[in-house]
Assembly symmetry: C2
């Protein structure tokens, strides 16, 4: 089946054509400007490409409640030009194909669970640690929506005493995960970009402490079989052994489960070379048919 | 259908006979001693009662993985006499009926979702705050198991500066939710039983602060449509308005969702007069057929 894929991010829109095996035939990016300017560009990309379905993984918050009048909308986003934009409806109407729609992080998770290392694992969590922190959650083979969708990036953290920026920078919560561990927090705390501090052990030790709290809470709340960490910050691969070690310390032997305790396979990097999002869109499109 | 129900707790075993409408015909309790002494007593209760199925909601940790050799076992419990006890298998073999099996808290949740106030809500969380803290989770209409089952009672908390017992009492995690907010923690912190301090505002203000952190993390991680708080500590009903108020403060306007923000209907007491567990067992038994 020819499927269209749209990874709708706050900075850029990635469009692709592919199929349900996860093969990407072609791909193109457009800057995210305003709905009036950007949506027609994306539509032009998909028109005439003979797609039978479209999958959209979208920045948010978005409305995933099929019974809601605003299903398929971007809702209360801080990117004000995009507030109350019926992005799924726009493409469904203009392209006249079934449209699958979910959050950007659920898209990445779906890519990993369908085509990547988490294949076949119906209980999985995907975090993107970048300019913000987002989480996609699958439980029992289904993406978790619930009342809205998880917003685990804002979980509250215990602040370490030696943190030079104990107040955090989240405008809502101060020292939540996003306020302490996303890229801008690292930069603000230490006065340099994360990428320039690769060899500064105290930077990554503190970062791993906060990410480990997230791993512990995720394990205890969701009982997943795998936790995948993607996003720009996790390109600092020296973080993985540190996060695993501190997760083990914080759990302190409480969880006696082989899946969790095989930590090299439990807390892992994304496996699809940053194509997990667009591949997840292919699956979203396929599932919409 | 005549269904047997067994709510297997660490202190007592509640046995009942009822049907799939949630009607309980008769009920009897037995102390939890050892498997050798207790299991035959329970078997005697159920024998000859012409049940067509049995539902068991059991203290844990337990093995819920149907592909595991120890499915249906109580596994690594601190109640050492019950370690590695094949409780589901014992009744399946001796009674020769289908046996449904889940955690004690998932049983209570299932009772509320099937027969109580959360009827029809497929995304719900149940906490019991008593001698310990346990959590049952339903997502998309299915009880969450995953790699094991949620152990949200041990989520890490941010400790308040004025807490006279900042170290907590959980032997694994110190200041986790169970270590800070369960009945024994309250008693240890203030030197009196919770029930004797009903009018002491600082006790409940601090308790509500910790429970509110749990509400925030639950909301952000699981996106439920309702959170039900049961267990002995929650018989202090003055906690509910305090917990809601502090949850609102901690979320700080971040979640723009009517279900969550209608907090009087979002954070609620158990509704089935402490029969939610045994009623959940009836549903577990029914679903096993």
């Amino acid at each position: 089946m020819r499927i269209g894929a749209l990874e709708a991010g706050g900075t850029k829109m990635v469009c692709a054509i592919g199929d349900e095996t996860g093969t990407i035939y072609e791909q193109e990016s457009f800057p995210t400007v305003t709905p009036e300017e950007t949506l027609p560009q994306l539509l032009d990309y998909f028109k005439g490409k003979e797609i039978e379905a479209l999958g959209i993984a979208c920045f948010g918050p978005i409305d995933l409640d099929r019974d809601s009048d605003t299903y398929g909308y971007i809702t209360t986003t801080p990117k004000t030009a995009w507030m109350n934009t019926d992005i799924a409806g726009y493409f469904a109407n203009c392209l006249n194909v079934p449209v699958g729609f979910d959050t950007d992080v659920n898209g990445s998770l779906l890519g990993e669970v369908t085509y990547g290392q988490a294949k076949g694992l119906g209980d999985a969590v995907y975090y993107t640690i970048g300019t913000g922190v987002g989480a996609g959650v699958m439980s029992g083979g289904k993406l978790v929506h619930g009342a809205m969708h998880p917003e685990a990036g804002h979980m509250l953290l215990r602040v370490r005493e030696d943190d030079p920026m104990p107040e955090g920078i989240c405008p809502f919560h101060g020292a939540c995960l996003e306020g302490m561990a996303a890229g801008p927090s690292i930069e603000k705390r230490w006065g340099k970009k994360a990428i320039e501090m690769k060899d500064d052990a105290r930077v990554w030790d503190l970062e791993a402490y906060y990410l480990a709290q997230c791993m512990v809470t995720t394990t205890l709340m969701l009982s997943p079989k795998i936790i995948i960490l993607g996003g720009g910050v996790m390109h600092q691969t020296q973080l993985f052994p540190l996060v695993r070690e501190k997760t083990r310390e914080l759990l302190n032997g409480y969880i006696k489960n082989d899946t969790v305790n095989d930590m090299d396979h439990y807390i892992v990097p994304a496996s699809l070379h940053d194509d997990q999002g667009i591949m997840g869109c292919l699956k979203l499109g396929f599932d919409a048919v």
